[in-house]
Symmetry: D2
Subunit: 319 residues, 4 copies
């Protein structure tokens, strides 16, 4: 293995840059040439590929976003698109590819592997929706962004003795809502994995009022959605002023947390080593505090397993 | 003047607590008893009034929100409500009242003054929409919250080469949008004081693309509104992916900036002194870097004057 | 078990409050009365003990420090002191005690257990110097404070093309230095677990200069110490301007990170349950991402094991 | 005026980059070529000068430090050094120079002006030690960094019921200490402009204890210095545990505050315009909330005027 390439694909997440930096520097340390690909799989198709040296990744560990830019590639989903990418890869004599992204990006990596190109994936998404790994790169930063926002909203919520509904990201996975609910000291957490009724929510709000709570903060996962509508219903039923905030894209950016930078650095390093060992179609993860690699298909077939213990803790602590 | 009371009213803003702290401590320093009123003018009506000492305002200078809580009082807008408040004030022998809030709260203060109770107002609002003062308490903090959010969104905006529309607060006054646009390095600022067309906006986006800009950040004042709709129009016309974020209530909270804490401390101190001088119906402000006091009616009659020079600077810098 | 008490002892750490909150709320959830003890073991001796309810721990999850205050108790190290504490505990009919602190505090907990009082310890220290647990409560926050400081110093270090020596906490354990070195993108990390010579350091600095690095950041663990002296030596040998900063007590405070708040909440909950199971002399920890409990003596006898893999990663990434 | 150059000199300060950006973009807007000079006056001497376009200053408004780097130039203090610089300027046909820096850098600008090169200075220093301007670029950011650090130290100070001495920057000017003392809610502020005795300090600490204060925070200006020694004296005299922290170089870096970014943008814009008006030896400042320009010599001859009113406020609020 003499030449490897790295790309970021799909939605970006904080510390993708730290992962790129580790891939480049550990690659070079292992006497491999490292190429960067612009705009995800589109860059493979269009040949937007350039060699990187140690200096190309200086002073990026603290930056949000991805210096390689990212995209969702429609073209790569077609056999023709993939063939074009394959041609480019062969012309440039690239021996292996590291894909930083989520679920969909990993399916792309699998396709490339099926075409004979060794690929390894690093989980870069704030959603933490990949069951094969305890944490994805960017989740911890998004979590800290969320609790910072919750802190700010709690100030104004307490001052006005309001109910506040705060919608955080997470389409199929309630982890960001659940973790930020516990860490933010929220009164309720509404996730796609758990049923809820507007009656339960309102009853809980009344209970909080009776217990002298000044504010009532409800964290809502994007996958459930409808923050504004929920706020309106709550206000109508309880008669208590209720306001909704959708945190939106601020959760995707920002200087990454220490945890994410270290996780991304360890995963980037591991990804290079797994490629060098001659493996393909592997995903890097962290399980039980150890960096692991696992077969892509096996990993993506894993059923998501909602953390019931944490959910119960969130309920017990918020009463 | 032996007893004064302080209340916060209307929408809260960061550093209201710093203002309360200054009123209490400077009052006591001047041998005046200081009372806190809960929930704005409602607390005057309901007698939710309690004496404060130096210790009651310990460790609040760094906290967002208001320890006195706040509300908009419908009852106080009626003659009956005001009469009730007056009765409570007389029973408690309160000689003067300091009202921390915005426009509407100051009209309440004026009514009290007309009923014979000396009143002074401190401008607490993140909107900076009071022409008699260069800065209101909370504006600088909200501005820093906005640019922090813009920074985060710029990360993901650059990674995806997207247009991002960011809506910040400010109903009648575009200051928060304008200042955060300049400080955040935004490409465009849309404020209620300036007309705009969707064609101008899109033309500007195309210009940015031609000049090699990776992102295009548009700051939209709440008073113009419609962030989601605007994003959709831009995407339709330009064909460039566009996302909207409405910052919402995070702009109201948070630990206040140094600027706001000092401004609030100086204004709180001045408010007490103005009351002690026997004045009434005065508002505290800052003009030309000096703390001033001005007649309420005169202040509220001032026409808002949009800062054309800053707006031009924002255009010149963003090209 | 009907009555339990909780205290914080030794140096404080961020998220101690989150642990206290969890102990109180999970205790009450399990129909146990929970008492707070002021100023660590001193409070046991002096009877500074008061009952806590759900409301006593409202709005503290986001606060640094400890609402119970903390101290190092000389008196408790004497048999007489411990006897006094025992008397107080018996008078108040307290059935079990949760001690939040580090190494020394756990020895105190062991003594109490030996006297027949069930005790459980929660690791609260920013040093991460307890080998039985992967993480201590407060470490992640201190790490984020350190990388924030490194970011700031890097700005001025690059502008001046200087060498910067930054001393972080950690007396016997280099974890904070090592982790913040990796996360901060430092050029060198100096920890008590690894020998170093001034010659190696300077050679590395010269290498960085040759490779075009604008700055050179060296993280020094408190346990090695001597930041000012080291900076002076480097400047004399290399002729490159060198400045030292000792981060000091800012690392101990601050609003805790999401990671620490969740860790503390889980550990606080577990501590109550371990007491309720009738165990004593146990420490709560996290191993392989699971909350565990372990015998105090066994835990404190574990040899510290330096993370050689991470150290190598820090070297490979920083070249 | 067809070609202007910009340089940063002396100690760096946050938002120097925002000033550079404004100079470049407003220069180009006015059809002037703008050159960047590396490493302050050294770059003028060595010809480290390069043309900048709009894109060279993209995405720097949020970055600390200075992309032009900075230095103190010994050589420029000699007539030979200045003659070399003059030769370079003439060869490159540069018509005017903007110097961003402090006191010493402005003296350099004056020398250049005396040699016939039009020069304008922008105040970039965190010390706020230039009496001709109400604020210098970087002061507000340093202030916010200081209060953030004070917040963190207060947490641990309260938990341990300690006295904390915090040394902030400011050699001849106590503004950073005074402003951060007020904004940080410190108990005492020690500045070079005001005499103090160790007895007064300790008496004040005892008074705080009597009044039930949990912590006692003393802000010390660098110009007074000796934080560690002072802490030791306090501990010896009062018997209360006392710890010192020297904030150091973290105050120089960091993403600039909104206030500083706007101030720097306005000053950068004004500097270009003043040059274009054909003026020389002028300094840009802000007085009474207006951007002004003033003769260098006149500005540097102004006597510093300590803000007695703010100092009194700090005393009255801290009791």
């Amino acid at each position: 293995m003499k030449k490897i390439a790295v790309l970021t694909s799909g939605g970006d997440s904080p510390a993708m840059n730290a992962a790129i930096r580790a891939v480049v520097r550990i690659g070079i340390e292992n006497e491999v040439q490292v190429f960067g690909v612009h705009r995800g799989f589109n860059g493979l198709i269009n040949g937007e590929i350039f060699e990187m040296d140690r200096h190309s990744v200086s002073d990026i560990i603290q930056r949000g976003g991805t210096i390689l830019r990212t995209a969702r590639s429609e073209e790569f989903r077609t056999p023709e698109g993939r063939q074009k990418a394959l041609n480019v890869i062969k012309v440039l004599k690239i021996d292996g590819i590291i894909v930083i992204g989520g679920d969909g990006s990993f399916r792309g990596a699998k396709e490339l592997s099926d075409l004979g190109i060794p690929t390894v994936g690093i989980p870069g998404t704030i959603d933490n929706d990949l069951p094969y790994t305890d944490y994805t790169v960017g989740f911890d930063t998004a979590l800290n962004t969320a609790i910072d926002a919750i802190n700010k909203i709690r100030d104004t919520s307490s001052s006005h003795e309001r109910v506040s509904v705060i919608e955080v990201m997470g389409r199929n996975c309630g982890d960001l809502a659940l973790f930020s609910g516990i860490a933010g000291g929220a009164e309720q957490v509404i996730v796609p994995e758990k049923k809820f009724t507007i009656e339960d929510i309102c009853e809980n709000i009344f209970k909080g009022k009776r217990n002298g709570k000044l504010h009532n903060i409800i964290i809502l996962a994007e996958g459930v959605g409808g923050a504004q509508k929920l706020a309106k219903s709550i206000e109508e039923i309880t008669g208590i002023e209720t306001r909704a905030t959708v945190l939106g894209y601020i959760q995707r950016g920002g200087s990454p947390s220490a945890f994410d930078r270290i996780l991304a650095s360890r995963m980037g390093s591991k990804a290079v080593k797994v490629l060098l060992e001659g493996k393909t179609a592997r995903l890097i993860g962290i399980k039980a505090n150890k960096i692991i690699d696992i077969d892509i298909k096996e990993a993506l077939d894993l059923k998501s397993c909602f953390n019931e213990e944490l959910y119960k803790l969130s309920v017990d602590l918020s009463n």
